[in-house]
């Protein structure tokens, strides 16, 4: 120690140890009285001083700080001792705690602390170990870590040297689950197009499960009820805890290699996330992925989802559902067979029925010779009947005509006489008519004559009238005479007055009178 610090220490104790002399060095210290309450954590700086009480003074007035002074260790020496002791006393162990101060070093090594509510311990996980972790460490994550307590001498620190780590507690488990799920998904382990379809009518069914659990009971119940044909082979494995995932992997690989099974059901009953954790292991996922036999994952209850569910060719919510889906085809097949049977019979009978119908139809249309003959006979009858009737009529008519003609022919004299009579009669008629006509004409003529006679102007004379004439021309009106009493007459040219008074002649019934016009007086018009 430097002089300065030594003085410092001496100085601070001085006021308490005024009466104390340093003890003789040949005295061995009495350890039973020594106070050893000071056990500072190794990381605490020794330069931090705590107040010292008088209990550090022993009965024999020697200081406890003088104990063991005969052997003064070096730092390295003491660290080595501690290392030996610590590492020798503690074999590998499992430690539970929360991750904090996590640092992923550039070298790939992890450095962190594990703590609980009251204390913490350093932790380190080298790359070789931590790269096998299926999940990513985060501060705050609950884990169980497996390793050895070691001491890092150069720093005088002890720590847990981690070889393995698992998530613990629901939160951590859920996180690890999400991490693995994401990782496998991006690597394509969940790809839909890689998933195989289940065979519709499997015969050999493998069931990987616990032989004593509830799952196998459920599966067998359903299968025996729904199918007689399916042959079940149980492959017993552990479904929980250490080593379970390895057993499951082995079982899946066996199924794959055997080339005997048509489908395999991986199943277990319900449980917590920890219980079902083996179905979330990466190795199980890979085994399922590479398995050539179609695999149904029926783990836990409806709400449980495990990684195996995502990788499997089909996920069902419960063990019973797994058994049902596998026997589904056969169930439907019963129905199908029933339909096929019916359909076969129906279409066959239908066909036969149709054929029968056709036959009958054609049969009907097929005219039998008898029928044909009958028809013809009827027709012939009909026609011949009509023919006879009409010919009878015809001959009747003809006969009548012939009769008549014959009658005529038989009496030619009769006819002649008749003609003669007719002639006479007609002649008579003619003459009579002629007479009548003549008579009529005569009468008519006579009538006309009388009329004519009545119109004879000379007859007028008989009645006392007279006809006046001038130079032979008749004078009808006073106008016919000119003032000179010369006759003008119609169309007559006026004569000169050289002439003397007109001599007019009057004809009476029995003679003529010559006269001279004395005076003319025109009648007044009425």
């Amino acid at each position: 120690m430097s002089n300065v610090s030594k003085n410092k220490i001496q100085g601070s104790w001085d006021h308490l140890l005024t009466e104390i002399d340093p003890p003789k060095t040949d005295q061995t210290p009495d350890r039973s009285d020594s106070v050893s309450e000071i056990t500072l954590p190794s990381t605490v700086d020794r330069r931090i001083q705590t107040p010292v009480s008088s209990s550090f003074v022993k009965k024999d007035k020697t200081s406890v700080f003088e104990e063991g002074r005969q052997k003064v260790y070096t730092v390295s020496e003491i660290n080595r001792v501690i290392k030996k002791q610590l590492e020798g006393q503690h074999p590998k162990l499992w430690l539970k705690g929360e991750i904090s101060n996590f640092k992923a070093h550039g070298s790939g090594h992890y450095y962190f602390s594990l703590k609980d509510s009251q204390s913490q311990i350093n932790g380190v996980m080298f790359k070789t170990y931590n790269r096998r972790l299926p999940f990513q460490l985060e501060n705050g994550m609950e884990v169980v870590a497996f390793g050895k307590i070691t001491v890092y001498e150069p720093r005088g620190q002890y720590q847990l040297f981690c070889e393995n780590m698992e998530p613990a507690g629901a939160g951590a488990l859920a996180k690890a689950f999400e991490q693995l799920k994401k990782k496998l998904k991006t690597q394509g382990f969940f790809d839909e197009d890689k998933k195989k379809s289940l065979p519709p009518y499997p015969r050999e069914v493998a069931v990987i499960t616990s032989p004593t659990g509830a799952a196998i009971k459920d599966v067998l119940n359903v299968l025996t009820r729904r199918s007689k044909r399916i042959q079940v082979t149980v492959i017993p494995t552990r479904v929980q805890g250490d080593g379970a995932s390895q057993e499951i992997v082995k079982a899946i690989q066996r199924v794959d290699q055997l080339n005997y099974f048509d489908v395999v059901i991986l199943t277990r009953g319900g449980g917590s996330m920890e219980d079902l954790w083996c179905f979330n292991e990466e190795e199980v996922a890979k085994a399922i992925y590479y398995c050539q036999v179609p695999l149904v994952s029926a783990v836990g209850h409806e709400i449980d989802f495990t990684i195996s569910d995502f990788v499997a060719d089909l996920r069902v919510p419960t063990p019973s559902a797994g058994a049902e889906i596998v026997s589904q085809g056969e169930q439907e097949l019963r129905e199908k067979l029933g339909f096929f049977n019916q359909s076969l019979k129906r279409s066959f009978h239908q066909r036969i029925f149709n054929n029968k119908k056709q036959i009958v139809f054609y049969q009907k249309r097929l005219v039998s010779p008898e029928k044909f003959l009958r028809d013809c006979t009827l027709r012939v009858d009909d026609w011949s009947q009509r023919l006879i009737q009409s010919s009878v009529r015809f001959t009747k008519n003809l006969r009548l005509k012939i009769q008549l003609k014959r009658k005529e022919l038989r009496d030619p004299l009769n006819k002649l006489q008749k003609d003669r009579d007719k002639e006479k009669y007609l002649k008579k008629q003619l003459f009579w008519l002629m007479e009548q006509k003549l008579l009529h004409l005569k009468k008519d003529f006579q009538k006309k004559i009388r009329l004519l006679e009545s119109l004879n102007p000379l007859g007028v004379l008989d009645r006392g009238y007279g006809i006046l004439r001038s130079k032979g021309r008749v004078i009808q009106s006073v106008k016919d005479l000119s003032p000179n009493h010369l006759f003008l007459g119609k169309g007559a040219e006026p004569k000169t007055s050289k002439q003397k008074n007109t001599e007019i002649e009057v004809e009476l019934k029995d003679g003529f009178i010559s006269a001279e016009i004395l005076k003319i007086k025109e009648k007044e018009k009425l």
């Binding site: 519709p200 009518y201 015969r203 493998a206 032989p211 004593t212 659990g213 509830a214 196998i216 009971k217 067998l220 299968l223 025996t224 199918s227 007689k228 044909r229 399916i230 042959q231 079940v232 082979t233 149980v234 492959i235 017993p236 066996r254 290699q257 055997l258 080339n259 005997y260 056969e330 097949l333 019963r334 067979l337 096929f340 049977n341 359909s343 076969l344 019979k345 279409s347 066959f348 239908q350 066909r351 054929n355």
Partner: protein, 74 residues
């Protein structure tokens, strides 16, 4: 003929019968075959005996070694 093959042949026959364009002789033959197949398939799913075994080991030739499986009471 395997079970699946029988089934698909049966389906084929049913379809043909329903389509109906065959001679009488052909339809008779097919009907017979169909009924026979459906009977065989029906028998296979009805009269089979179910066995439950457990896998014990794999023999040298790659076939499984099976034993009776007994449901144990938990």
């Amino acid at each position: 003929m395997s079970f699946e093959k029988k089934l698909s042949r049966l389906e084929e026959i049913v379809q043909k019968m329903e389509a109906g364009e065959m001679t009488l002789d052909e339809s008779l033959k097919l009907f017979e075959e169909g009924i026979k197949l459906s009977r065989e398939c029906f028998n296979e799913i009805n009269t089979a005996e179910q066995r439950v075994k457990k896998l014990v080991a794999v023999s040298e030739d790659g076939s499984p070694v099976l034993e009776e499986f007994e449901e144990k009471q938990t």
